[in-house]
């Protein structure tokens, strides 16, 4: 056995806990999870059945943590895990799973399959069986702070543009600010309108906020690839910055995965609770709405629907705030057939969009989303995750569907009631 494989088996074993043991003990191979997974429903490839993806991990649990399994392993009746097998499994763990967690919602015995796939990525990455795209992004994140290699200068450049347009300064490194805003590299590079929208909304609500120059990236490639040490290091950068600036709340951007990484995984990665709160941008805007600090002047006349980012709704629990915000600006809001916690993934989450090898498959399984959209034929689709947004735009284009994909935050800012700027606040 190679040292790499041995290390990987140790990592696998570390991730087998009581929950995993209860899950594997309960599976009766009923196959229901297959019907919840868009990679199965859209391809009918049986190996995409969610629970099947965990076969190597199941064997490790069986051989190491059950009486019968230990006996069979000793008698060489249960084959050991090999490099070849893990290599074969790589596409099942990274290319065809967006960690959307729909399988975990339907399993009749209650198995949280996606959490096990997340754990399985740890063992796979330790064995060196993670896709190049994700590994490279992780290296860039460690080195430059951003998976896309976006450095502070690039952000400053974008901020200058926004400042010129808006006529007021974007606060950076403000000690004692109440809120600290994080962004995703995707937003900085592809959707700088997001920064402008947030700045306008925050200004409107008179918020005390800041961006930290040493921790502005919200995404966490370490979580996606499955290397907890790196994931923890990336979380710590945010935690250190937030604690140094003494902010009360850290705001996650329109990125489902970043929210999951920071809000729910982060404290467990660093092994302690935060000294600040974490809110998704839509949660904060919803709070401002409730406090009547946001007013809109007009409503969108188009028929709009909302695509729930999986990590935000199903896995993150932020389902209602985006809808309450949409209610402020929509005259004709239509829900997708399966929505909220049962929404179908765009196909790009969980690092799939960073993994070029999966590009074709991602577009193929988009047929599920396409069907959903065709069922209600909205004029435009709104979402609150820039990865979902990119994926939706690209796939809609691929399928020749003319349908604008909008950011919830940007759309909200467009409908913001203008109020005269208070000149004393400028600069």
């Amino acid at each position: 056995m190679t040292a790499l494989l041995e290390r990987s088996l140790t990592v696998f074993k570390e991730h087998v806990d009581a929950t995993v043991a209860a899950f594997f003990s309960s599976c009766v191979r009923c196959g229901i999870c297959a019907h919840s997974c868009l990679f199965y429903t859209e391809t009918k490839a049986v190996e995409y059945t969610p629970i099947y993806r965990l076969e190597p991990m199941r064997r490790i649990w069986f051989q190491e943590y059950t009486v019968l399994g230990r006996i069979l392993k000793t008698l060489k009746l249960s084959p050991p895990i090999s490099h070849e097998e893990l290599s074969e499994w790589e596409p099942l763990i990274y290319d065809s799973c967006t960690l959307c967690g729909r399988c975990s919602m339907v399993c009749p015995v209650g198995n949280d399959i996606v959490t096990m796939i997340r754990k399985m990525r740890e063992g796979m990455a330790a064995a060196g069986h993670a896709p190049k795209g994700l590994v490279d992004a992780t290296h860039r994140a460690v080195k430059t702070g951003s998976p896309m290699g976006v450095r502070l200068q690039a952000l400053q450049h974008q901020l200058e543009h926004v400042e010129q347009e808006l006529g007021f300064k974007i606060p950076v490194d403000v000690q004692g600010a109440e809120y600290m805003l994080l962004m995703s590299s995707m937003e900085i590079m592809n959707f700088p309108e997001f920064i402008r929208a947030v700045a306008r909304l925050f200004k409107y609500a008179d918020l005390s906020w800041t961006i930290a120059s040493n921790a502005f990236e919200a995404t966490n490639s370490g979580v996606q690839v499955g290397v907890s040490d790196i994931a923890a290091e990336l979380v710590e950068r945010v935690v250190n910055a937030a604690e140094a600036l003494k902010v009360k709340t850290v705001i996650g951007p329109e990125c489902g995965h970043a929210y999951m990484a920071l809000r729910w995984e982060g404290p467990n990665l660093i092994g302690r609770p935060y000294r600040f709160k974490v809110l998704h941008i839509t949660e904060l805007l919803d709070q401002l709405r409730e406090a009547r600090k946001l007013r809109t002047h007009s409503r969108d006349v188009r028929s709009l629907t909302y695509h729930d980012p999986c990590q935000l709704s199903r896995r993150g629990g932020v389902t209602k705030p985006p809808r309450r915000l949409l209610n402020m600006i929509c005259n004709d809001f239509v829900e997708l057939p399966d929505n909220g916690v049962m929404n179908w993934c765009c196909g790009a989450g969980g690092g799939v969009s960073t993994n070029e090898r999966a590009d074709q498959l991602r577009l193929q399984v988009f047929t599920r989303k396409k069907q959903q959209l065709e069922a209600i034929k909205p004029d435009a689709v709104i979402t609150s995750c820039s990865t979902c947004r990119m994926a939706l735009e690209e796939a809609l284009d691929e399928y020749d569907m003319e349908m604008p994909v909008l950011s919830l935050v940007e759309t909200l800012a467009e409908h913001l009631l203008e109020k005269k700027p208070n000149h004393s606040e400028i600069n």
């Binding site: 087998v16 099947y52 339907v106 009749p108 467990n268 609770p273």
Partner: protein
Amino acid sequence: MSEADLFMLVRGPLFHAALAIFIFGNIIKFFEILMLGHKPDYAEARGSAVQGGIRTIFSRFIPDAGIWQRATITVIAGYMFHLGLFTVIFLFAPHVLIFQDLLGLKWKALPTQIIDAATLLTMLALLILLMHRLRDPVRCFLSRPCDYLVWSATMLPLITGYLAFHRFGIAPQTLIAVHIFSVEFLLIIFPFTSLTHAFTLFLARYYTGFTAGHRGINA
């Protein structure tokens, strides 16, 4: 060995041995699971994890609408089988007497005609599930030899029980002995196979609901 000796052996020492394996096997099984423990969740809670856990234990009895549509056979035959099996095991008069003997608790049995119908329906459901397992691409692909062993071990007590009750062929006492023996086989393999799901699913559902509840999600 006479017919009476065989009956006494199967009903006596063998039954107690099988019961002991079943009970201790399951205790060990739970011990194996719980001993692994799980890490505390440091993320600030949005909802009650415990309530979420309890909620999911019950909510998973009802399949999601999409699953009803896409896995209709598994859902309907699965329900039919489980309900039928519970009826037959716990509400057949002679079984009630055995439970009274073992647990000291007594409850009302159902009329035998109903048990008879339930047995047939349960066997029919099991047959449908087997056909589905063999013919449906996903289920066929997922199934391991152990799943067929578990299927057979569940079907046998139903067949032998039905035959014993209707006294086909061999002398009734031998048939009853065969029936009890098939139940013993089921009890013995139980802790070592996916049959454990009957108990562990409550843990599995609780854990999943616990995580979801902590995050304020209804799972």
